[in-house]
């Protein structure tokens, strides 16, 4: 297409696409996001296209691959429009039946429906699934509906209308006022007011003559994948938000810094940028407004610290990702010394919603100090693993038990870890606390980017803390001493405790060192690295004490503190554990009770995994 020159040209294009978009037309939408792809959705999609092509259908049926709708647990997912019948956990072998029975004859295949674990009831329609019912989907609204590789789909549903409105009917100041009025706070985790940040940057850009904006898509928190899903499933929303932001701040060049570990998101983003350029949303004289903006993609190279804004900018400049002290803040002196505004993917994606629908409507959701919605990736020991978008202020209990479906296998909930390696855990007694920036901080966790990992009774909180400390210690860039040495010292102590070599005084040492690292580190990585340790110490000090004083791991996880043995009454001498043991610790012969030699046993757990008779005891 040739670039659009005016609001009128955009409007006629949009109107044509919108009228052609018809949710009452038969259509099959298959999740083509990373999660479902890993479960084989591409084979399902290919087979579906083939079967629909050769089936003798009364009306033609469109087959669309979409971005992630979020219900990863049940993937590969498929939704049949217009009824919105939801089929789950699909295999290519199910496809002919779907085409014949449902698409052709209109019959429901019950075994492919979601079954409510409590009632045993089959749920037919996607909107009726408990997982979706309690969500408020704004940023994720189009995920699962549009084909992320087609700009036409985004525009048909109202995409780029906000950009047109901002560029052609609003002054840059008015755009900033609107963003400020929405109460949007940075969704990268720190929660700084976006409107205020923009205003600071705008003033500095005016003074300096130029500047940059950056989208931080270097989503490094293990267990968090919402940024990936937004970029993958609706890349144009991020691009549109950035163009609006660039206009508001008077900036003409921007970067998206995205993890190289997200190949599909990178592909979809690059494709979307090309489309936006072709349509005239990027480039010179955008929509005839005289405003110019260009957007580039930079790939992260696998360094967690690059999520920190000054390290991220160093990386874009081609150097190693070491942070530098602030101030100066990026808004004053950022990329190549110019005023720079950095926002997270979800913050940028919220901008078209705020401008398009108005700040008032956006601020109508959430709590007095935390407006709008928040996207969480709910993972770990939870039934409905996936991505959920909920209003700020919802309780953790609703999120984990109503939407997340509770804990699998009847196990007891132990803690929710929010905010990844920078965050903390929240125990069962605080499940009813509303989720907003302030409440989470007061509990020793942080909103962070929205990663939420559920731990059950089988997880050891000391091991959990050790896991995160291992992560931050490895990812510490090494520039400042408190983080480089402090995380190492804390990790060494945690490793000793987990190995059964804890000493009295270890807890006090962790508290003291944690405080030092927090207060004295150069950047956010170090300043937050002790959080997982400090918050587990706050709520689960008894577990630490059990490890140190009683030489016991209550959750039976830490290898230095557990032993494996065989229950003679249960063992029937099948030799499976013996054959699988890599350290020759199991002895016995066919038909006779086996025994484990504790001196040889490495406590790898293979024997327990392979035993079909539950004859291996861990204590």
């Amino acid at each position: 297409m040739s670039p659009l020159q005016s609001a009128l040209e955009f409007e006629s294009w949009r109107a044509g696409l919108a009228s052609a978009w018809d949710d009452t037309k038969p259509c099959v939408r298959v999740c083509d996001g990373t999660g479902c792809r890993a479960l084989g959705s591409q084979k399902v999609l290919a087979s579906l296209r083939q079967e629909v092509g050769k089936a003798d259908l009364a009306t033609p049926i469109e087959v669309v691959g979409t971005g992630c709708p979020g219900f990863c647990e049940c993937g590969p997912l498929l939704t049949i429009y217009p009824q919105r019948i939801s089929y789950q956990r699909l295999a290519p072998a199910d496809v002919p039946e779907i085409v014949q029975q449902t698409l052709k004859n209109g019959e429901i295949i019950e075994r492919l429906l979601y079954t409510d674990p409590q009632t045993g009831e089959h749920i037919r329609r996607e909107p009726d699934l408990p997982f979706y019912k309690r969500q408020t989907r704004q940023v994720l609204e189009f995920n699962g509906r549009i084909d992320p590789t087609r700009i036409e789909d985004y525009v048909a549903l109202g995409g780029y209308t906000a950009l047109t409105k901002a560029l052609l009917t609003m002054t840059p100041e008015a755009v900033i006022d609107e963003v400020r009025a929405s109460g949007l706070r940075g969704r990268g985790g720190a929660g700084f007011l976006t409107g205020l940040k923009w205003e600071l940057c705008r003033k500095n850009v005016e003074r300096a003559g130029s500047g940059y904006i950056i989208c931080n898509a270097d989503e490094g928190d293990p267990g968090a994948f919402m940024d990936r899903s937004v970029v993958e499933g609706n890349p144009h929303a991020v691009i549109e938000g950035m163009i609006i932001g660039a206009y508001a701040m008077g900036v003409h060049e921007g970067f998206v810094y995205i993890r190289t570990e997200y190949p599909l998101a990178v592909d979809n983003l690059r494709n979307a940028i090309r489309q936006a350029e072709a349509a005239g949303f990027l480039g010179s004289d955008i929509l005839g407004s005289g405003f110019e903006f260009g957007l580039h993609v930079r790939l992260g190279a696998g360094a967690f610290v690059c999520g920190e804004e000054t390290a991220l900018m160093a990386s874009i400049e081609g150097r190693i990702g070491e942070p530098r002290p602030r101030p100066p803040y990026p808004a004053g002196s950022g990329l190549w010394g110019k005023p720079t505004n950095i926002n997270n993917v979800k913050s940028w994606a919220a901008v078209p919603i705020i401008i398009g629908r108005g700040a008032e409507r956006y601020a109508g959701v959430g709590t007095p100090t935390s407006k709008g919605t928040m996207i969480f990736s709910v993972v770990g020991k939870i039934n409905n693993t996936g991505l959920v978008e909920v209003p700020m202020g919802i309780s953790l209990r609703e999120l984990i038990f109503d939407i997340g479906g509770g804990i699998p296998n009847g196990k007891a909930f132990k803690a929710a870890q929010i905010g990844g390696p920078s965050g903390g855990c929240i125990p069962a007694e605080h499940l009813d606390v509303p989720i907003d920036y302030e409440s989470l901080t007061s509990l020793g966790a942080i909103m962070g980017s929205g990663g939420l990992v559920v731990a059950d009774e089988d997880n050891c909180m000391v091991d959990f803390a050790r896991y995160f400390m291992t992560f931050t210690q490895q990812e510490s860039c090494g520039k400042c001493v408190p983080c480089r040495i402090g995380t190492k010292a804390m990790l060494a102590t945690l490793e000793r405790i987990c190995a059964g070599e804890g000493q009295s005084g270890d807890v006090e040492y962790l508290l003291e060192m944690g405080d030092h690292v927090k207060r004295n580190s150069l950047c956010g990585l170090g300043q937050t690295a002790p959080n997982p340790v400090l918050s587990t110490l706050r709520y689960f000090r008894d577990e630490y004490e059990a490890h140190i004083l009683d030489r016991r791991c209550p959750a039976k996880v830490c290898r230095g503190l557990i032993t494996y043995s065989i229950i003679p009454e249960e063992c029937n001498g099948c030799m499976v554990c013996l054959r699988n043991c890599t350290s020759n610790a199991v002895s016995g012969s066919k038909g006779e009770v086996h025994t484990i030699d504790a001196a040889l046993c490495t406590r790898c757990g293979v024997c327990k995994n392979v035993c079909k008779f539950d004859a291996v005891l861990v204590c």
Binding site: L39, T260, A301, G302, G380, Q417, V453
Partner: protein
């Protein structure tokens, strides 16, 4: 893997004509040859006007770069939090035992490289192993055995 100087030059020249990004050029070379041969660092630093020391610091700072050639097959274990609570340490342990190497190493016959990754973001499937780009979810020690066996068998038949 055989490296080709002309291909390396081609990648660097393309990058020089475009964004001129050192990291971008090295990323492409890494993806093409699955490691950064010494020649690549020298050529990139000369062509992009960056000191060799900076090219080397970049190549050793970021996790995606490797200065050592990798094996024919790459097995990557996700060590993300969701995978961790669902048992990825046991999965990695089993792979280390089966292949006789530690994470980050390559078997002496250059067939297998074992690696870990911080998070793939496919958390519903944990623990996850990626073998030559193919995802295998909900791994257990038993499934690891089957996976390694089938890869070794395919290699023996090839």
């Amino acid at each position: 893997m055989q490296i080709s100087i002309s291909e390396i030059n081609e990648i660097i020249n393309r990058e020089a004509a475009g964004d001129g990004s050192l990291i971008g050029a090295l990323e492409e070379i890494q993806e093409r040859f699955r490691y950064l041969p010494p020649e690549a660092l020298i050529l990139a630093s000369e062509r992009l006007g960056v000191p060799l020391s900076q090219a080397y610091s970049v190549a050793t700072f970021y996790n995606v770069f490797s200065l050592k050639p990798k094996g024919k097959h790459c097995l990557t274990v996700c060590m993300g939090t969701a995978c961790h609570v669902r048992g990825s340490p046991q999965v990695l342990d089993r792979l280390e035992t089966k292949l006789g190497i530690k994470a980050g190493e390559t078997t002496p016959n250059h067939l297998f490289t074992l690696e870990t990754i911080n998070c793939l973001g496919a958390c519903a499937l944990g623990p996850i192993i990626v073998s030559d780009g193919e995802y295998s979810g909900q791994m257990s020690t038993r499934k690891v055995d089957a996976l390694v066996k089938s890869m070794m068998q395919a290699e023996a038949e090839a």
